[in-house]
Symmetry: C2
Subunit: 463 residues, 2 copies
């Protein structure tokens, strides 16, 4: 399905900018192979098979630019579905820029962000949910986000939507069959069976919509504020939480200890710890007030609050802190610290603090790293609602969420239509609207160029 | 020539870190293909040819990590000369790190910086001058450095050295033939012919040594300080110089206008302009002195000084500025500015300022960009000594320079030996020393592991 919007052959750097051993330049389009062949000294690329690699030189007016490896892909067996060439150069910015300029001189045009994937979509190699999963996959920096993206890239969400679409089309076909025989007043479509089908689809839609909360957690992580009065042990708790982190995680996320946010990976979900521990002890009341205001701001910005208190303090002192920060209003875990310097045991503490208006309570020693694992599990469960099953599709994309909301409403209207016994032709129109919202998600309907621009504009160039 | 130091199969990321469309992981060693095959779902890679590409999935305990393209290279037709695999993944740090960890679990070891190229050297795929050129090529960010590196990568320097080596071996063979027949007192080696040969090699060595000044300029760029009294037009000149710069250059070099150094590319040579223009006009004598001190520091750090003065100032004023900065001691170009607001023409100015102790003089209007091209040409010629011919080998590496200096000295000793009629066996020993220093450059002699470590340690990992 070659269409007119993309007759150009496009070129872009496909690897991250910067120096490296290898840099890859990618071309896609009907002239990809002739363009590269015209600047290549080696075998005649026009005569080679797809999925083969060829060593040679990129030349410009008899001057050698680089020694390269060329990989060929032929339509339709390529990422975009078009003829594609990958040029593997030495990873010098100078060389890569020069080779891209040469390709442009020979007739290629610079690719827009996401244009390779957009072509894959336009050529029917993937639907929109899969195309969007490519960007999510590249951006994923923890295992849950990676799994959700890969599930969608492999067509997990597409499969669910295709199933719903088939059911709706079946439903629609029965209604329309009735219309053809309307003069004979035959009811092909058993209204009860139709209603059952509708409820199934509605339920599936609601499941998907509900999964968006988890999807957001997976895709964007969970913001956690650690609050507590000075000396309650905020810094020690932060260190204890981060301590067990495998070094690899901070290397991946590119986080540094200099930033105010630390990143904690629990079972593949990223928790972004808003570090109010940096707020030092203050002597004057005025500065103390500034510290409390900052903590309040952190609480407002967070999804979950870790409230840390000293178990050697009185219950009234602790209750006053909870009131001070309005913690009962938030998703909150209360963390009683300093088990190591307390005469009480956990059982006694549970009695002592049974009145505090936070149901999720832990008693730990941050210093001795005692109780940290259980606390992490609570954080994970609170964030994911105990359920993280990648067999089920999880919505992570707000565009999909919006379309599913519209679908939900349209399904509701179909249901009301049946309840009100509206004529079959009107019912058929309402079902069409449902199919329309499904089509918006997968891109099966004629997708507005502006919407495509928004979707693919978020990609990096070269993808 | 598989040797014992590198029986391991190594793995590393070959593309720059960060997000991109594609990230490439590279393996080299006898187990490269089996290791990747054990985590690959697709064709059996063990049965495939070299220089072919295969689509499939990287899996770990039945969980899919990524959809990838695998490129196979088989010994000896690969970069390292060993079996090699390139895994082309989606460019997510999470995925790339996970796949590398999987390869390590299956028995690969993380590559040291430059270890792929080191193996190419150890397996006889390239000599040391070519291996070092790989690193230079990746680091090159302007055409001259790129050409010099590519010339060496293609064996340009190796070829010169091999020629010298052959001549010396021929020389040595004649001397040693004499030794075999020494009792018969036959002189196979015509001393005059030998001396001629020696002079040729000595001359070639000196040419190479001399090229190092240019090589340094090519590889490291030229530092240029722009000095002049406030209001002489330093900022305007800087802008005029940079103005004609093609946008592409700053994109390549990654330079920003925020830094104190601006980069100017003239005919492929990078000039690093030390911007003293930022030193603002001062009113008090004390702050004026600080400005002069800063300019002096910039002059000390620079290779070339651009001295800009106002042609409407008196000759005495200009001479006092030249004295103030001791400019006669430096490589300097005098730039008379403000032709646009002067009644004089260039001929008159040449007379007026004929006394200044700087022979290279330009008269320009920085504001109207008049005379800028001629000034750039002067800068280029002063930096390169008018000669930039890539047909000739240019030494850019200080290790090579040091070895060539030793060679030059050893050649001198052979020459003295002939002059002093020393016995043939001693002469043969002296010639061996010359061959030794040549061998140090190419790595033909047994190269010390420490030296190899130093050479390849400068590489990025994955090369």
């Amino acid at each position: 399905m070659q269409t007119n919007h993309h007759v150009d052959t496009i070129v872009a750097l496909a690897t991250p900018p910067g120096s490296g051993a290898i840099g890859i330049i990618r071309l896609s389009g009907s002239r990809a192979i002739p363009i590269v062949n015209s600047i290549f000294k080696g075998k005649n690329l026009l005569l080679q098979q797809g999925y083969t690699v060829h060593y040679g030189e990129i030349i410009h007016e008899s001057e050698v630019i680089d020694q390269v490896l060329i990989t060929l892909f032929k339509t339709p067996k390529s990422y975009t579905g078009e003829d594609m060439v990958e040029i593997s150069c030495h990873g010098s910015s100078y060389i890569l820029e020069t080779v891209i300029q040469l390709c442009i001189q020979k007739g290629a045009v610079p690719a827009m962000p996401g244009e390779f994937t957009q072509r894959a979509f336009l050529n029917g190699k993937m639907d929109l949910t899969q195309a969007e999963a490519v960007a999510d996959l590249i951006a994923s920096n923890a295992s849950a986000a990676h799994k959700a993206a890969l599930h969608n890239l492999k067509g997990g969400f597409k499969h669910v939507l295709d199933g719903m679409r088939e059911q709706l089309i079946h439903f629609s076909a029965l209604i329309e069959l009735e219309l053809d025989f309307s003069q004979e007043d035959v009811a092909f479509a058993d209204r009860n069976a139709l209603m059952d089908l509708l409820l199934q689809i509605t339920q599936r839609t609601h499941q998907l919509l509900q999964s968006f909360t988890l999807g957001n957690v997976i895709k964007n992580g969970v913001k956690v504020a650690i609050v507590g009065k000075p000396n309650a042990g905020k810094s020690t708790l932060l260190n204890a939480l981060l301590n067990e982190e495998r070094a690899i995680v901070s290397a991946i996320a590119g986080t540094t200890r200099d930033t105010v946010e630390e990143t904690l990976n629990i079972n593949g979900i990223l928790f972004k710890l808003i570090d109010t521990a940096g707020i030092r002890q203050h002597t004057t009341d005025e500065i103390e007030a500034i510290g409390i205001a900052r903590s309040k701001k952190a609480i407002e910005q967070s999804d979950i609050v870790l409230f840390i208190f000293d178990i050697n303090d009185s219950i009234n002192e602790v209750l006053s802190q909870i009131n001070q920060w309005d913690l009962a209003k938030h998703q909150c875990i209360a963390v009683g610290n300093k088990l190591d310097v307390s005469a009480s045991n956990i059982q006694l503490l549970q009695q002592q603090f049974s009145n505090i208006p936070i149901t999720n309570r832990h008693y730990i020693s941050a210093l001795q790293q005692d109780g940290i694992e259980a606390l992490k599990l609570s954080l994970f469960n609170m964030a994911t609602g105990d359920s993280l099953n990648f067999e089920n599709t999880i919505i992570t994309n707000s565009r999909h969420f919006a379309a599913l909301q519209s679908l939900s409403q349209a399904l509701q209207e179909v249901k009301q239509g049946i309840d009100n016994n509206i004529p079959g032709d009107l019912l058929a129109l309402d079902i069409r609207r449902c199919l329309h919202f499904l089509g918006i998600i997968t891109g099966r309907i004629e997708t507005d160029r502006d919407i495509l621009g928004t979707i693919f504009g978020k990609f990096c160039i070269g993808k």
